[in-house]
């Protein structure tokens, strides 16, 4: 499930007893401030590991998790829903007889976790006879007793509800005053209190924070029956409530006058702009289909990177483990061995679980591996995948990449996408410089509709704002734009990437994978980039 789908979810639970039970039980706001004592977590973990070893496990890891989420959902002048959820419990994963076993419990007693650990060993032993080869884990050095926290300034969970409601009501009023007919604005706030222990000798306590403030602003022209939506240009971030301070340092004004945001978001300013731009979209001329040079803003490019690079370079997809759900990958092992030309020499793409402010940043992943940054594509050539401990040997690597994640204590951890980002160009290059060299192009800001095939070859992307570029100049706002790509051809058409001064993050708060499905949050950074000769279609239709 992607962010757009989750917005739809936000409209469904209004007024009825529909709770986001997928996120846990509903709690009072004041409970969002508390934590479980680390000594209690260690005692539970030791009880589980001892029970697992006694039952015959050769490896055991224990995740004691407390997952807190708060949603504030509004439309126009109404608060539709405020929900606080908590989910607490213990997930235990073991290897016994060379096979994995997993069990989880929400009972926070030594007896209950020991019982779950024993169950996990029994499941592993039951699975062992049908296993074609024993699990092979890349080695990890025990981290000892350590802790880490997302470097936030303001804990979103401690900001009073009234301040959050006042913020969104102010945003909505500003949009309506600026000419919007409708607005939906939402705060999604997440705190994962995760304790990981393993028989490798790790006791890792992490406190992870994330924030997302999406909105949809709609303008309607009743006379013509046309309507247009402009979504917010914020990014979900691994930051505290300070992200919504609207600091000047977080703003960039693009050559066409549109303001975009980096590590600080001015939601009210963006709502006012959205109201005006949604109205302008109704009157904007329709694009003439054909080949164009595309200039893509980072608020747009993140989703193209996510779908056409991040997903196909997940090793479990490459191997076929996701064939029935998320899909496989065109970027097969033989292509890695041959250093396949994935993109032009301007394309350098890195995976990074350490990047400050990103959604995926942690010190250790969910199997106790110290996180790092590594290359996926260097000078356009495919050089790596994303792999976890039991996959590293398949890629010929001696260590995990540290990108294992579970969205809950009750779900088993598995390989998830790291932050995957396009490195900025090394030569000095501003957005204005880039546009000045484009003869016949389209400048796209914000992410829109997205669809890609199950092997990540053929994709189609829309956007929020489209501007025609003629002879190096931005001439007018246009509409009905979508571009269609074949992944390797698209990345090989990358002609320029702006320098680091333009680098910004975008991201997905609810990226789905696995059966039963799990979500994860992941960021993708880039500077504005130019892609030559891309196929653009016109998406306007007539219903007669």
């Amino acid at each position: 499930m992607h962010r757009r789908d989750f917005l739809a979810f936000g409209t469904m639970g209004v007024g009825g007893l529909i709770l986001p039970s997928m996120f846990g039980k509903v709690i009072a706001a004041e409970e969002l401030n508390s934590v479980i004592d680390v000594a209690v977590k260690k005692a539970l973990a030791d009880a589980a590991m001892n029970a697992a070893k006694s039952a015959g496990a050769t490896y055991c890891d224990v995740r004691v998790g407390r997952y807190l989420r708060q949603f504030v959902i509004t439309r126009e002048r109404n608060v539709e829903n405020i929900v606080n959820t908590e989910s607490t419990g213990v997930g235990i994963r073991v290897i016994a007889g060379g096979a994995w076993g997993f069990a989880a419990t929400n009972e926070m007693t030594k007896e209950a976790v020991a019982k779950a650990a024993t169950q996990a060993v029994a499941i592993a032993k039951a699975n062992a006879p049908t296993q074609s080869a024993p699990v092979q884990l890349a080695p990890v050095k025990g981290a000892g007793e350590v802790s880490w926290r997302t470097p936030i300034v303001k804990n979103s969970m401690t900001v009073p509800i009234k301040d959050k409601v006042d913020l969104l009501m102010g945003v909505n009023a500003a949009a309506m005053d600026a000419g919007a007919d409708f607005i939906r604005s939402i705060l999604f706030l997440v705190n994962e209190q995760k304790y990981f222990a393993s028989t490798d000798g790790s006791y890792i306590d992490q406190d992870v924070h994330r924030i997302w403030a999406p909105m949809e602003v709609t303008a309607v022209d009743k006379a013509t029956g046309k309507f247009r939506v402009r979504e917010g240009l914020s990014a979900p971030m691994g930051l505290g409530f300070e992200y919504l301070d609207g600091a000047a340092s977080g703003k960039t004004v693009l050559p066409n006058g549109v303001t975009v945001y980096g590590n600080s978001y001015d939601m009210k300013e963006d709502a006012i702009a959205a109201a005006k731009q949604a109205r302008a979209k109704i009157k904007a001329p329709s694009v003439k289909p054909g080949k164009y040079d595309l200039v893509l803003d980072p608020s747009h490019t993140w989703l193209t990177i996510h779908e056409s690079v991040g997903h196909p370079l997940e090793l479990d997809r490459v191997l076929g483990y996701e064939a029935n759900y998320a899909g496989t990958s065109f970027a097969t092992m033989d292509k890695l061995q041959a250093n396949f030309q994935y993109g032009s020499d301007k394309v350098n793409i890195v995976a990074d679980k350490t990047q400050p402010g990103s959604l995926g940043a942690v010190a250790f992943d969910d199997e106790g591996v110290k996180t790092k940054k590594w290359d996926l594509i260097r000078n356009g050539k495919l050089v790596g995948y994303q792999a976890i401990r039991d996959q590293a040997h398949i890629e010929g690597k001696s260590e995990s990449d540290g990108c294992c994640y579970a969205d809950s204590w009750s779900n088993v951890q598995f390989q998830r996408m790291a932050n995957v980002s396009l490195e900025p160009g090394k030569a000095k290059q501003s957005v204005a410089d880039m546009i000045a060299n484009v003869e016949d192009g389209i400048y796209i800001i914000g992410d829109g509709s997205f669809s890609i095939d199950q092997q990540r070859y053929n994709a189609q992307f829309g956007g929020q704002l489209f501007y025609e570029i003629k002879q190096g100049k931005i001439t007018q706002q246009i509409e009905d734009v979508a571009y269609q790509i074949r992944t390797p051809e698209f990345w090989n058409a990358c002609a320029r990437v702006c320098d680091a001064s333009d680098y910004r993050l975008g991201g997905s708060f609810f990226d789905g994978k696995g059966q039963p499905a799990q979500v994860s949050a992941v960021s993708h950074g880039s500077s504005t980039a130019r892609f030559n000769g891309i196929n653009v279609i016109n998406t306007a239709r007539s219903l007669g």
Binding site: G16, I27, D181, Q455, Q460, A482, A540
Partner: protein, 444 residues
């Protein structure tokens, strides 16, 4: 524990509602046991059971609402959850669109429960995996699939005396079969209430046949073609219909059912004359609970008759505002059709394309409900009533509104589940003219 008897559920709900001091109180119990088995690369990868029960309590003081939940059921816990909901309600801002709890209703039970599905065991799931994997191993094909089954119940009561209790089951099986060289891919899906009608060993043959038959695909030029969408392929587009018929968004001017100058298209011809949609909570094989999220009783509700829009969905709030009768939100969507199979539709097609399945469908333009997505797992060229050869997959950009105005013929409807919607649908195979493919995909 997760599936309470009616007496157990009623006892808990009565206590909860009795504890409340708020202006009104609604309590709901939901419980389920979900089992699953997942396999890939011809090996079982994971299997598990999740067992969960939850009590939700919603109270209101005037237009201030508070909701709390708990999964403990002793008297102290029940009182605690009510007090917590009451505290939250007192802190909450007023909701101008607040609607009071529904009065006492009468619900006619619907056939949502199957003992066979509720009786699924770990051994049954393992057999489904083996029945899927073994024939693939034997023919050098590779299977990846998933079975999830669940049995559950819902019970609720409010302070106005309304009450409901019912149990339900469902099972969803999907399997993707690929050739060893990765040049062919097939898929089968089976979504049922009652597993008595399900046989993985038979289903897997469909996916295997398609995997083998779809290798050696030729490329056709993108463009407009007559297509036959199998029910699973059509479901990908039809699942968006669950959100189509909302009166409020149409009245607000932001739906394809909005009228120029204001109002909605209720009573107008919006699809071709062959098109009929209705909702029916008691529909055999696709039954749903006889109440909606607000507690309104569901009945059989025609939505589109001979292409004409005859009913739209009015929430309780919107119906009150517009002076219309409130109607329960549908829980399923039934599309009528004829008696022909997909194969029958192929036989009467001079030139066209057979689409087995659609994938990753997203809204491009809500103004026209333009959707984009891809074909997969078996796309074939038809000539003179016969499948001639497999073709490479296409990306389409098509609006179901336009598509349902281009119906040539509809076949026999079957129950299907969309990739991204849980509610049951009954959809026929459909032959459509001028379906718009916009590019080729190399994906298999």
């Amino acid at each position: 524990m997760s599936i309470l008897s009616e007496a157990q559920a009623k006892a808990i709900l009565t206590k909860v509602v009795g504890f409340s001091k708020a202006d009104e109180c609604t309590a709901q119990l939901t419980g389920s046991i979900r089992g699953n088995v997942r396999f890939a690369r011809n090996d079982v990868s994971t299997a598990g059971i999740t067992d969960n029960i939850e009590l939700s309590v919603q109270v209101a003081y005037g237009k201030r609402v508070g909701i709390a939940t708990i999964n403990q059921f002793d008297d102290a816990a029940l009182e605690r959850v009510v007090r917590r909901a009451e505290e939250l309600a007192k802190l909450a801002p007023e909701n101008p669109e607040f609607m009071p709890a529904v009065e006492k209703q009468t619900y006619k039970p619907t056939p949502t429960y199957s003992a066979a599905t509720a009786g699924i065991t770990a051994d049954y799931r393992a057999k489904v995996a083996i029945d899927s994997i073994a024939p693939c191993r034997a023919e050098k094909l590779i299977a990846a699939g998933y079975l999830e089954d669940q049995a559950g119940f819902v019970a609720f009561m409010n302070s106005k005396g309304n009450y409901g209790y019912q149990t339900g089951t469902s099972a969803d099986y999907t399997c993707t079969v690929r050739t060893e060289d990765g040049r062919g891919s097939g898929w089968v899906g089976h979504n049922v209430q009652d597993v008595a009608t399900f046989n993985a060993g038979e289903d897997i043959r469909v996916a295997m046949r398609k995997a083998s038959a779809s290798a050696e695909a030729k490329a056709l030029e993108p463009g407009k073609y007559t297509v036959i969408l199998e029910p699973a392929a059509a479901a990908g587009l039809i699942q968006f219909m669950f959100f189509y018929f909302d009166a409020r968004s149409a009245d607000e001017g932001r739906s394809f059912l909005s009228k120029k100058g204001g109002g909605n298209k209720l009573g107008e011809q919006v699809f071709g004359p062959q098109v009929n949609f209705f909702a029916d909570p008691a529909y055999p094989g696709a039954a749903v609970y006889p109440w909606d999220e607000e507690g309104l009783p569901r009945g059989k509700m025609p939505i589109v008759e001979n292409g004409k829009l005859v009913n739209m969905e009015y929430s309780r709030y919107w119906s009150q505002k517009q002076g219309k009768p409130a109607m329960a939100q549908p829980g399923n969507l039934i599309m009528t059709g004829g008696t022909k199979s997909t194969a029958d539709l192929v036989r009467t097609t001079e030139r066209g394309i057979l689409v087995s399945r659609t994938w990753y469908i997203r809204m491009v333009d809500p103004q026209t409900v333009l959707l984009t997505g891809l074909t997969r797992d078996g796309t074939f060229y038809i000539e003179n009533g016969q499948i001639k050869y497999p073709i490479k997959n296409f990306r389409f950009n098509e609006s179901p509104v336009i598509m349902l105005n281009n119906v040539e013929e509809l076949g026999k409807p079957v129950r299907v589940k969309g990739d991204e919607a849980d509610a049951p649908m009954v959809v026929p195979p459909m032959k459509l003219r001028d379906f718009t493919f916009t590019s080729l995909s190399d994906a298999v």
